[in-house]
Amino acid sequence: MARYVLRRLSQTAITLFILSVVVFAVSAVLPGSVGRAILGPFAEQASVEKLNSDLGVNGPLLSRYLRWIGGALRGDFGDSYKFRAPVMDFIPAALFSSLKLALMTLVIVVPLGIIGGTFAALRQGKATDRVITISGLTLAVTPEFVVGILLILVFAVKLGWLPAGGSARGSVANQIKVLILPSLTLTAVLFGYLSRMARAGAIEALASDYTRTATLKGLPRRTVLLRHVLRNSLLPTIAVIASQMSYLLGGLLVTETLFNYRGLGLLIADSARERDIPMLMAAVFIVGALAMMMMLLADLLIAWLNPRVRLGGKR
């Protein structure tokens, strides 16, 4: 196990490096004059050029990258063009809110997905199965901004039960109230994929020899399902949850904008619009790193759940 962990860690390190290059490269080719974008149309050209040189957006690429990554390693992603303050003054808070949202979403979608998927697997090929799969799929492909607005329309505007958005502050109860609609929006999108995976995993486990053994032992069906089937079908599901993490974080961009929820997603959307490149890079990089960590965690978790890996190969 230790050896495996080490290998995965080193791999992740490399991946992080590549990620940083990718992020920098893409951001570096952003066209247009940063200064002009910041100062606006009616600002004098002189002002624009002055600002550009102040921001040092004209240096050679490599040195700029080194400066950036160097800072990043020290947790300093430079100053925001927009707020004229260290990017890191803004990201942690945003990150925290986003994680809250992500967590809430997972809390809803994971059990839902697994139960739905397993249920579908048990009714494989029957109507129930079809309904679950297709409805999941349909939700998954309906853009967040449609699902979101519908939710707002119904629960915030029409029924007035829940707030149409805002940031999760204050009492836990209040925070949860704020989080429900956005996380439901994300749930709608993720449920399809998750249940699909859970279903596949369950079907495989159901067809396996050890399930047959358990049944022929004379175990009650419930025990067979809970102890033997689910236990094994969960592994692939965990994997997919992790790989969907990056997807979830992507969904944040749209969802947070829609619900005016001040998290990384909204921060990224704003920074992109405002050409706040240091902020954009930092945020995107962190989102990527986060997703990567999730994959890593999932891999380790799976490894740990799977004795084969945990305890090494045969005997």
Binding site: E44, G160, P163, A164, G166
Partner: protein, 527 residues
């Protein structure tokens, strides 16, 4: 004389009652907090630095704490604020402003001429790269042009005659709030106001401010005007207009500082919503390049103008909440506009013109892709198609990415036709200069945004005459000449000017939005 102050001596905004306000019948009740939804200030405005602020969100926030010499009201006439009266010399090249002796800053100090000089000169100083430079250029005011005659009077010496000058130091030029002369550096304005380091004269001071989420105001204890009714004022920043409307509908906020018809339809005929509809000079310009390319031929440009069914446009895009414009910046909001011939809608004539000019062609329509511009683009496309011109739409994130204006960077291609947005101004001067006057150099402000590459000596002269004239009659005369030229040459299409829309819940009364984007709350109350 026209520009002399009205007898209104009340401090603050002196705004007229809201135009379409529904329920401001009952006597306003004291107390309560208003929560307003608005956009987050842009990069330049993020610290609320009065020198740099360049967008609606920024000015809305700034004008809660800072005050101007005069306030441009909803009817675009000037009301006194820190200054009680202003008078020009004979040719309107010198203006004398008399300050209100009652006016004080939040630290109790009186507002003096020295403060005015310091504040305005800060904006004029090129090193500070203020957003207001172009405005002052139009206003013909240069560094050193401001002098204090005594504690209570300030003299503005201009480079030439300028009839509309008072607007340049009014709320119209939203950067020009007056701060104590002692203030050296405004780069961290919001923070400094919060900490009391910078004293301001407005009804509110800043309680807390987070450039990403919103701002909370608390009453200015030493406010010199009529006492506030509200206990507090709060702005929440939104990125997505739809989100704003949703929040407003579901009652998270009491007011929308500004909203668009598209997406806001549900508010328009809603019993418990007060909609404020203000005439404004906010408009879109569709420039057509006169120097080269398919639009170089005047007849093609005229044809384009005739191809537009402007009334339908207005109905379709704004549910009528806009006014037809005649491809000139002289909108019905401007007193100086005078009475104008209505633009004609005549597809056949347009077709004919195009054929004369050598028949239809393909072109790419560039433009911004926010506000209603995408829809406008579609409408233009349809209209053009009808007269044999095929427009391929290519809207980019925003104007400056594409550099389809060659004035700053001759190397770029420029564009034959493109849409951009112009915000509200209290006077047409900026519109007449930046995008239309012949471009000479970046430093000489004229024509810096002349995407149409329109160069017409006659026009330039006419504009100079207009700017110089300080009385309405002569302005109207000059205006008619200008309009004649523009409607004949058609360097740009200006199909409409959009009414400014703000909304509050009916329980909110007494707020005074302006087309510029101010949202004065000094007389506001909440039931």
């Amino acid at each position: 004389d026209e520009k002399a102050s009205t007898n209104d001596t009340t401090a603050g905004t002196g705004g007229a009652a809201q135009t379409t306000a529904a329920g401001d019948t009952t006597a306003p009740k004291a107390g309560g907090i208003i929560k307003a939804a608005g956009g987050a200030p842009s990069a330049a405005s993020a610290t609320l630095d009065p020198v740099l602020i360049n967008d609606g969100a920024g000015l809305t926030l700034l004008s809660q704490v800072g005050q101007f010499l005069a306030v441009s009201q909803q009817d675009l006439t000037l009301a006194s604020s820190l200054a009680t009266k202003w008078t020009p010399n004979a040719d309107g090249s010198e203006w004398t402003f008399t300050l209100n002796p009652a006016a004080t800053f939040s630290d109790g100090a009186q507002v003096t001429a020295a403060d005015v000089v310091a504040s305005i000169e800060r904006l004029l100083n090129p090193d500070n790269t203020s957003n207001s430079l172009s405005a002052f250029a139009t206003g013909k005011l240069s560094p050193g042009g401001v002098t204090a005659l005594d504690d209570g009077t300030v003299l503005f010496t201009l480079n030439g005659p300028m009839g509309n000058f008072p607007y340049i130091v009014s709320s119209d030029n939203y950067n020009s709030i007056i701060l104590p002369a002692s203030v050296a550096d405004t780069t961290n304005f919001a923070a400094d106001v919060m900490s009391g380091k910078i004293a301001t004269s407005g009804p509110w001071t800043i309680g807390s401010y987070d450039a990403t989420t919103g701002i909370k105001y608390k009453p200015n204890p030493k406010y010199w005007g009529t006492p506030l009714l509200l206990e507090g004022l709060e702005y929440i920043f939104y990125t997505d207009p739809a989100a704003q409307v949703a929040a407003f509908q579901s009652g998270e906020v009491d007011a929308l500082v500004k909203f668009e018809v598209a997406g806001g339809e549900s508010l328009l005929d809603n019993p418990d919503v007060t909609v404020y509809e203000l005439k404004s000079a906010n408009h879109r310009q569709i420039h057509m390049r006169c120097s080269e390319g398919p639009f170089a031929d005047k007849r093609v440009r005229q044809a384009m103008a005739m191809s537009l069914d402007r009334q339908t446009m207005i109905d379709g895009l704004f549910q009528g909440k806009a006014s037809i414009a005649n491809d000139t910046p002289f909108f019905d909001v401007f007193p100086s506009s005078g009475d104008r011939p209505m633009a004609t809608f005549d597809v056949n004539k347009a077709k004919a013109l195009v054929t004369e000019a050598g028949g239809g062609f393909d072109a790419t329509l560039y433009g911004i892709n926010y506000f209603e511009a995408p829809d406008l683009a579609v409408l233009l496309q349809n209209a053009a198609k009808a007269i044999g011109i095929n427009l391929k739409i290519d809207l980019r994130g925003d104007y400056y990415d594409v550099n389809w204006v060659r004035t700053y960077d001759p190397s770029v291609a420029g564009s034959d036709i493109g849409i951009t947005d112009y915000g509200h101004r209290g006077v047409p001067d900026v519109f007449l200069n930046a995008p239309l006057k012949s471009f000479k150099s970046v430093d000489d402000g004229a024509g810096v945004w002349n995407a149409a590459e329109f160069a017409n000596a006659e026009y330039d002269a006419a504009v100079d005459v207009y700017s110089a004239s300080s009385d309405l009659q002569s302005q109207k005369a000059a205006a008619e000449k200008i309009q004649a030229i523009l409607t004949d040459e058609v360097p740009m299409l200006i199909p409409y000017n959009i009414n400014y829309l703000a909304a509050t819940k009916t329980k909110v009364a007494g707020v005074v939005p302006t087309a510029m984007g101010h949202f004065f709350t000094d007389k506001a109350s909440k039931a």
